[in-house]
Symmetry: none
Subunit: 198 residues, 4 copies
DNA sequence: CATGAATGAGTATTCATTCAT
DNA sequence: CATGAATGAATACTCATTCAT
């Protein structure tokens, strides 16, 4: 019961780390569910910590949001890179695109992460964004090499289209599969019959 | 019956109408620039009127926003109907789509108007929305008859895609023309070479 | 149809007087029903005039209220004087007391008129208050002479008791007749059996 | 179990409790002096705290007022019960009545508390009101048994009369003792000489 | 003179952030 | 280090009063 207890005697760093993780997790959920308007107090309450603790780890509401974004972007970037390094980058590109939209359509935070350009251009975000763009870029390049994607599209274009699909999916007004299908079709190389002038 | 008639000669709310218009105009600009978070006081200040004046014309912040939306939706609906009644509905559809995005890409309010489904379903908004959807529906039908648009797309799908394009255009990260081009291509009938499985 | 028409040719003073009366009447009703919190706009609307007209006749919301009070106090004072001049001042006193409470229990304005001491001590109100107090005083004196009312009660005491009864009646929690009966009993001369110490 | 116990040793909201009490105290004073129209900001200022602090303890202006009322009603009820359990309930009843009026004549809040029937019927208020009515009821019953109070008066009647006396005392226009004396006399059993018809 | 549009100070309430415990 | 109480700027909306038409 004294300081000899290995579990409770060093709650210092362990607790802090656990708290940070818990806050991040909860914030991610809450932002995803209810948007950025949720008060910090609510997040603290749901995470089972005091507001002060939230502020200890994230000096600002924006900083907290940024942290969530960074995490997400990194994960997405990793996924893209892995696919790019795989053998089927051609189909992988479209699968990735669909996947992203599927996953993030319920996730306000990731959408905001991708949509927020400029607003969060601090070091961390920029870096995470790079990771993401790089991964996506590799995947895109392979798909273009394989002739599956219009060669005049840049990574930024694709990211933008992804954000757009997310926005549409979140609308809930149309079948996401159909929407994504349309956009993916639009990204394929132009066949003679589809020339705008035709 | 001449200018002596006290009932009709009253020029009445000459400045009232001007104020209302000015508020609407300013609100439209400000909402477009800075989003819905702008305080009413700010709008009043920029319009050069007191808050009370804003509230006299629009009993609620939402009501003000709604008024902007209604105006916009109506105009857009009219435009679509006119094109539908014209001879070139096939190309008109795509022209309209591009036009919409061009016009509204700077306009946060119209985007929000279209994106907000359900939030503003009061009579006026609903009616204006109907006008818009009807006009777009006519245009779409013609374009599908002419074989220029995939026949499995509904008006709602198209509206959703339009909202998506607006979202993307507003990002400012990619060339709107390219983006809209991609989405328009995606809406054209599927040619053999574009079959997803291909 | 010209200035010869006696009905419409001189709407000047006539209209004004009618407007003033109408505003007063409506304000009396509205204050009685909903209390002083009612906006002036509401009163103007119900009276069928513009706010400006209300303000032309009563430079202030308080002034309007005061005017109502004055009218009421005067009427009440007159009634009391008449009774005092009649033959049955003894029973008349209690009848008057009960009447007052009955009449005013639904009437927020009269209650406020009586209850407002000091708040409205402008000339008019003071004068009307005097009229009222004088009438009541005469009635009280007669009743005291007839040995029907404790001789140590002053007009002010009686007025205060009346206000109290109004307050109680307005509560709606108890039968006004019973309440008034108790207070009236208390005002009668003390019989031996009722001596507090007994 | 000693001061080392982290669970019970936390003096915790030492200042929080102080602040809450201070706000309550100030609000009680201010409401008593100036009525319910006083802005919360004013109360906060006078209490030397920020508005937020007031709202932390009392989520609503009504809630703050309610808290004051509850405290008062409870205290009054307790006092009545104690007197009822004492030997001299007969004289105690009148003493209590006079006491109440004396104490509350300066206190707008208690008056409003008693006068407000229905407006504040939330759990707490209702409960406190019950405590009060119960205590008063016991005291009344004893006094009626002792033949000192008219047997046809109910607790509600008495409460109403008390409110009335408070209203009168607050007028400041008449000697409260005299007023209360009159009403108390009126509550005593009717002696032959006081029969209304006499 | 009547009208009602314009004004703007005033009010309750929220929430990001700081700081005493 | 954690806690949550305190802070106060900010915001939507109301209403008495003024003034152009």
């Amino acid at each position: 019961m004294t300081s000899a207890d290995p579990t409770t005697s060093r709650p210092l760093r362990a607790d802090a780390r656990r708290n940070r993780a818990r806050v991040l997790e909860v914030a991610q959920e809450v932002f995803a569910e209810e948007g950025l308007a949720v008060p910090i107090d609510e997040i603290a309450r749901r995470a089972g910590v005091g507001v002060g603790t939230v502020y200890r780890h994230f000096p600002t509401k924006d900083a907290l949001f940024e942290a969530i974004i960074v995490e997400r972007l990194r994960a997405v970037g990793e996924a893209a890179r892995e696919l790019a390094e795989g053998p089927e980058a051609g189909t992988g590109f479209f699968a990735f695109f669909e996947q992203m939209v599927q996953n993030a359509s319920l996730n306000r935070a990731l959408f905001d992460a991708l949509a927020a350009n400029g607003s969060f251009n601090r070091e961390l975000t920029a870096e995470a964004s790079n990771v993401m763009m790089t991964g996506l870029g590799q995947l895109l390049a392979k798909a273009q090499e394989a002739g599956r994607v219009r060669s005049d599209l840049t990574v930024t274009d694709v990211k933008t289209l992804m954000v757009g699909c997310l926005a549409m999916a979140r609308q809930g007004t149309a079948d996401p599969r159909l929407i994504v299908g349309v956009v993916c079709d639009g990204m394929r190389p132009v066949s003679p019959s589809r020339t705008p002038g035709a």
